[in-house]
Point group: C2
Chain length 373, copies 2
Amino acid sequence: MTDIQDLDSRKAAILEAVVTEYIGTAQPVGSHHVARAPGINVSSATIRSEMVALERDGYLAQPHTSAGRIPTDKGYRFFVDQLTEPGVLGPAQRQKVSRFFEQVHGEMEEMLERTSGLLSDLTSYASVVLSPGHEAAAVRSVQLVGLGPRVALLVVVLADGAVEKRSIDLTEEVPDEVLAAASARVQAAAQSRPLGALIAPEPSGDATVDRVVALAQSVLEDFANEVHDRVFVGGPSRLAAAFDAVETVRGVLQTLEQQLVVVSLLRDVLERGLSVAIGAEHGYEPLSSCAVVVTPVSVDGQAAGAVGLLGPTRMNYPEALAAARVVSEHLGQRLGGTLESGSPGAPSPAPSPTGAAAGAGGPRPRRRARGRR
Amino acid sequence: MTDIQDLDSRKAAILEAVVTEYIGTAQPVGSHHVARAPGINVSSATIRSEMVALERDGYLAQPHTSAGRIPTDKGYRFFVDQLTEPGVLGPAQRQKVSRFFEQVHGEMEEMLERTSGLLSDLTSYASVVLSPGHEAAAVRSVQLVGLGPRVALLVVVLADGAVEKRSIDLTEEVPDEVLAAASARVQAAAQSRPLGALIAPEPSGDATVDRVVALAQSVLEDFANEVHDRVFVGGPSRLAAAFDAVETVRGVLQTLEQQLVVVSLLRDVLERGLSVAIGAEHGYEPLSSCAVVVTPVSVDGQAAGAVGLLGPTRMNYPEALAAARVVSEHLGQRLGGTLESGSPGAPSPAPSPTGAAAGAGGPRPRRRARGRR
DNA sequence: GGCTGGCACTCGGTACAATCGAGTGCCAGA
DNA sequence: TCTGGCACTCGATTGTACCGAGTGCCAGCC
C-alpha cells in the first residue's frame, strides 16, 4: 500500500476499506465498520474525522445525515487507480476459462458470443465483446450468386474469416453466365486487397457485364465503410439485480440494446487509454450508475476488438479486471490460432501492470459501426 | 381445454370488463368499477354474486379478501377466445409499420432484427422474430476459400439468401489449386439440392482433393442438422417495467437470453395451433407470468418463420394480436419480394378470422354477447 | 499536537395502533 | 331475480414511539 498523490496513506486506507466494504454489502459503511477492517489501527472517532475530510474532498458521500458513507465516482476512481496487483480469479473460475477455450469451436461470431456468455458467467455482470475490425483484412473471395431472376447476393470473404453479404437488385433479368463473368471480374480486381483500398475493374466490353460489375463494385465499396464491428452483449439479465430502482434497470437495458451506443462507448473508453470508466466518466448519461471495465484483445500483437464488463459502479473491480484480462488473453490466443490451425499456444504475454491506462496498440482510427437505428 | 364455453352472456360481459379494466390499470377491479363499465346494466351487488361464481369456476381470483378480482390465466384465455374482431392499430402505428417496410432494406437477418425492434416499439412489449427455416432451401453455391495454410472456410449460399459458413481445419497444407478443385466438386454435387438431401461427390482420383472434399462434405452434412432458426429478441428492456418483482424480471430476461428456449417455446405454441399462450399454458415455468402472442409469417403461401410478442399475462391482447398480425403480413410480403426484386405488393391477404385456435378448423361458434334489458 | 473515549443529537427503520376506504358476502324486500 | 342496505374484512395510510447505527464535537490523555 503505497502513498498516493493527494491522499495520505491513512485516508487512502480508509477509503479503500469503505469501497471494499460497500462493494460487498451495498450498504453505507460507518466509521465503526471501517475501524474493524484489517489494516486500520485507529479508533472510529479518528476515522470519522478523516471521513469528513474525504467527504469534503469528494471521495465519499453521505446518503443522509446519520448514515454511513458511500464512495463517489471519484472515490472508486482513486480505489481503482490505486490497485497494484491485478486481481486474481479463483481456481474454479480459472479452470472454467481454460475449459471453455479448449472446447470452444465454430465460427468466430459464435465464439465471440459464447465468450460474452462466459464473461458474464464468471463475474455475474453484463459482458460485452467487441469483434475485431476488418479494415485491414484482405479480400479473399468475392462471389455473385444468383438468387432469383433479378436478384443476386454478393458474398465477400475476408482473410480473417469474416463473411459479408448483401443482396443486389439487378433491376432486370441477368443470365447466370453474365453473373459469373461479372463475379470473376470483381473478384480479380478485389482479390488480396483490403476493403479500404479497392481498385476498379477494367471494362469488359460487354455492357451488361459491366453494369453488373459496377453494381457489385459499389456495394463492395459500401462495405468498406459499413463493415461493422459487431458487439455481443452477454447476460444483461444480471443487471436486473444490480440496481434497486426499476427505472434504472430499464434505462440501462435499453441503452445496451442499442448496439451502436455500446460500440462507441467501448471505443471511447479505449481511446482515452482507460481500462475502467466509472459512472459519469464515460459521458453516457443513461449509464451513469454503471461502471465499465474494458480490456483490448490483441491477436499476434495487433489490436483486435475488446472484451468488457458492465456493472453497477459498486462492482467488484479487482475481480472484473482480472476476469476481463484473463478472458482477453485466452481469446487473443485462440483467435490467433484460428488461422494457423493447431499452432502451439504461444507463451502467455505479460499482463499490463496496472489497472488503468492499458493503451495497447495506440489510437485507432475512428470507424463507423453499423447502425442499428 | 375443458368447459370454457359455458359462461352465460352476463358472466362473459363481466369477465370481459374485469379483464379490460385490469389490463389497463393493473389493479384488482371491484364490483363497483365493473358496474360502471359500458354495456353492464346491473348493480354491483349482482356483479358481486356473479363474480363469486366466476371465481369458483376459476376465471377470477382474489389477491385477498376485500380486494377486487383479477383474471386468472383461464380468465384471460376465455377473453382471448371470445375476441371476434381482430384488434385494430391506431393510424399512427399503422403508418409506422408501412413506413418501416417501405424503407427497410439490406440483409434478411438485419431486416428481421429491425423488425423485432419495430414490433416492440409498436406495443411496448418484448418481441420475438423467428427466422424462416432453411431445410427446404436449395444450395445455390458452395465455396471453399483458403484463409491460412491449413485453414479453409466453407461458405454455403442457399436459395433463400441465407449464408452459412464454417472454418475447416485441413490438418496439412493444401495448395490453392487443390482447394479450388475440391470446391468445384463439392459445389457440383450439392448444387440445387436442399441441405437435407445431399449426394456424395464422385471420387476424383486425386487423394488430396478427395480428402478435402470429404472434409467439406461432412461439414455440409452437419449444416443440415445444425442450421438453426435464428431468433431475434427485441426490446427486452420493456419487460423491466412490466413486472413489479425484480426476481421475475431477472428470470424472464434470463430465459429470453437462451435463444434455444425461445425458439422451442414459439415452435411449441405454433404447433399446438395457438396464437396466444397465457401463463402456464406454454409450460415454460420461468415464463409463467408471461403471455406469448405468436403469428406465423407466410411467404408466398409457405410458412416462413414467425413473429411474436411477449409480455405480462395482463398484456393488451387485442393490440398485441393486431400488431403481430400486421407486421407478419408486411414481413411476409417483403420477404416474398426480396427474391423477385420489385414485385408489386400483392393485395393484402384476408386476416385469419379469430384470435385463437387458428388450426382448430370449425367456424367460430361463439359470439360476444352483451348485457340485456 | 494528535488520538481517543464519551456524549448529545440525528434520522432512517421498525413496530404498533388507529383510521380510512374499497370491496366483499349476505339478506330482506321490491 | 335483482337491488339496496348493512356488517364485516383487510390492505393501505397515518401517526407515534422507540431503537440503533451513525455522526459531530469536545475534553482529556499520551
